[in-house]
Amino acid sequence: MYVLTLVTLLLIYAALALSLNLITGLAGQVTLGHAAFFGIGAYTLAFLVAHGLGFWPALLAGGVAAGVTGLLLGAISLRLRDDFLAIATIAINFVVVALFLYLPFFGGAFGMSGIEAPFGDTGTLIVAVVLFGLTAVLHEVIRASDLGLALIALRESEDAAGALGVDVKRFKVTAFSLGTAVAGVAGGVYAVYVGVIHPHDFGFPLSVTLLAMVAIGGMGTFRGPIAGAIVLGGFAQAFSFIHNYQLVLYGLLLALVMRYRSQGLLGRRE
């Protein structure tokens, strides 16, 4: 039972990592604020369910809310590159968390609690499996499609892609919207899984964790983000006997992998 609930969390992480991979791994757009979209999905679901809406419509609404906000991020990304974009996404993460904290209908500092899982623990696991499965399928379909090839071209060289007639703008914005929408849906599933959400659950540290999952696993690949999600998501649980050293080990792992094997553990060198 305990293992199954852990697996549920890892599935949510894996879906999140794949959604981030669409943006950062495939399209090469740095985002250090992905947790904000996860949070938008979670809060949207929690809020709607508390006001009587059913689980499935609320889940969809969470995805839409996150995806629409992602459109905004996509629009911002059109004017920025790399470092600027990274900083902008950090800023967006902070602003979104501040909104969760200060807007009264989100419960403020108390957060939102008592979010009921409509089908119990096993049901939530199944929903997480479905989430992960659909995300994986979406990811692979995109990677193999024209859109995917275009995104990869974008990553290699934005100028060249533009010169070859790839509509850079449309693809960037699409990548952001899809990635953030999936994150929003994952957020809704997470909300019923954990039952209580607070603004700081969706802050910058989580965004870093997610990016680390993708980077350590191997950016742009399929297996990489999934392996990253399992390793880093399960870290704290698996190594609870060295609880005192989690953060330092995790930070060092990140630094060392970037220093010595930047393609990630499962990635291929370019």
Binding site: M1, T5, L9, G108, A109, A238, S240
Partner: protein, 378 residues
């Protein structure tokens, strides 16, 4: 590809399949030992270990030694949820001490309640923790109650105009609610009220605006590191009115970091340094010799949580969750190092004494104890 993923999964899962227990009582502890809340987690776990040692030295729980299973939840709800499940399913804990912050405790509580494992929350303040959960109790002072005590103290100090600086989080909000409702019934005039986010270190501008309203007393909520900045900056801008803090200030660190500005500050809290009870002095001495530092409120409530659970088990004569729960619900008048508990109400929240301490010459001393049950009932 599948093989590698399975290997990764196995590597993660295998250390989890844990060992089995002997003839001891397994007591679970959820506390933040790393991350931003690590300082409080350390205080809490140190104190719980001291309490366990004290109980074991006296013969243990019904003759069996307490075996503590401590998990670092990093004050993170998703970690807490999973460790709570682990405590129930793998470690078979007889009961759990919730020694973490509100968010994490709120996530763990439903899991333990559903599995009929009694939980005693030490210092987490969110009201929902105990709501609708018969197996979940709390030993710490409730936020709104503490706020009311603060207003009572303001009146006692002769104030009629109050300036409030409130921490913007669940703790600060709860204190503010309690203070404002009691202040209204006492006829106190709140001439200034503003909030600040957790971790804010710059209060000068806000304090100066408050000073122009000339309050007789300042009610400022916060945790000791922010509070230390607040009192230093209050001194720097020339605020003479006494400052009333709460048990978030209750740590020797507040005195160290606040320096000379900490003298004369009042706090409403649960640990009476000048207590006549032998157990309290024993705790204070043991903590000091164990860590070299003076004990704080977090440590005291964590110690009290285990104390109280152990007493309930002994009284029930059984480790069965239902028996312990019924005993706790029916308990009256139990003395703990964090004050005297008159009883638990229907939610599982304590009606207990509070104390007001004042800092003189760099030390906490008792100013008065609060035993008015009307004021103290949540």
């Amino acid at each position: 590809m599948c093989k590698r993923l399975l290997l990764a999964l196995a590597l993660v899962v295998s250390p989890i399949i844990g060992a089995q227990a002997q003839d001891t009582v397994t007591v679970g502890v959820l506390a933040p030992l790393s991350g931003f809340a690590a300082a409080d987690g350390k205080s809490a776990v140190t104190s719980i270990r001291l309490a366990a040692k004290t109980i074991n030295d006296r013969g243990g729980l019904m003759g069996r030694k307490i075996d503590l299973k401590v998990y670092d939840d990093q004050a993170d709800p998703k970690q807490a949820v999973n460790f709570a499940r682990r405590l129930v399913e793998q470690d078979h804990a007889s009961f759990v001490i919730g020694a973490s912050y509100s968010g994490a405790t709120l996530a763990a509580a439903p899991v333990l309640n559903k599995n009929h494992v009694p939980m005693m929350a030490a210092y987490a303040v969110a009201p929902d923790i105990t709501m609708d959960k018969p197996y979940v109790f709390r030993v710490g002072l409730m936020g709104p109650v503490e706020g009311r005590v603060g207003a009572m103290l303001a009146g006692k100090l002769g104030a009629s105009k109050v300036g409030m600086v409130n921490l913007k989080n669940d703790f600060g909000q709860a204190l503010q609610q309690g203070f404002e409702s009691q202040a209204k019934s006492q006829g106190l005039d709140i001439v200034f009220s503003d909030t600040y986010p957790l971790g804010n270190k710059n209060f000068t501008s806000m304090l100066v605006r408050m000073k122009t309203k000339q309050p007789d007393v300042v009610y400022a909520s916060g945790y000791y590191s922010d509070a230390a900045n607040l009192v230093r900056q209050a001194q720097s801008v020339g605020i003479q009115a006494p400052i009333i803090g709460q048990d978030g200030y209750d740590s020797p660190k507040f005195i160290e970091l606040g320096g000379d500005a900490a003298n004369g500050v009042y706090i409403t809290t649960q640990l009476d340094r000048d207590s006549d009870h032998a157990d309290v002095q024993h705790f204070l001495d043991a903590y000091k010799s164990e860590t070299g530092e003076a004990a704080d409120m977090v440590g005291a409530t964590a110690y009290a949580a285990l104390e109280v659970m152990a007493k309930a088990v002994d009284q029930a004569g059984s480790l069965d969750g239902d028996a312990v729960r019924r005993t706790l619900a029916g308990t009256t008048d139990v003395e703990t190092v964090a004050g005297h508990v008159y009883k638990w109400n229907d939610h599982g929240d304590p009606i207990k004494t509070a104390t007001v301490q004042v800092i003189r010459n760099g030390e906490f001393h008792r100013y008065m104890n609060v035993t008015d049950q009307d004021l103290l009932t949540p």
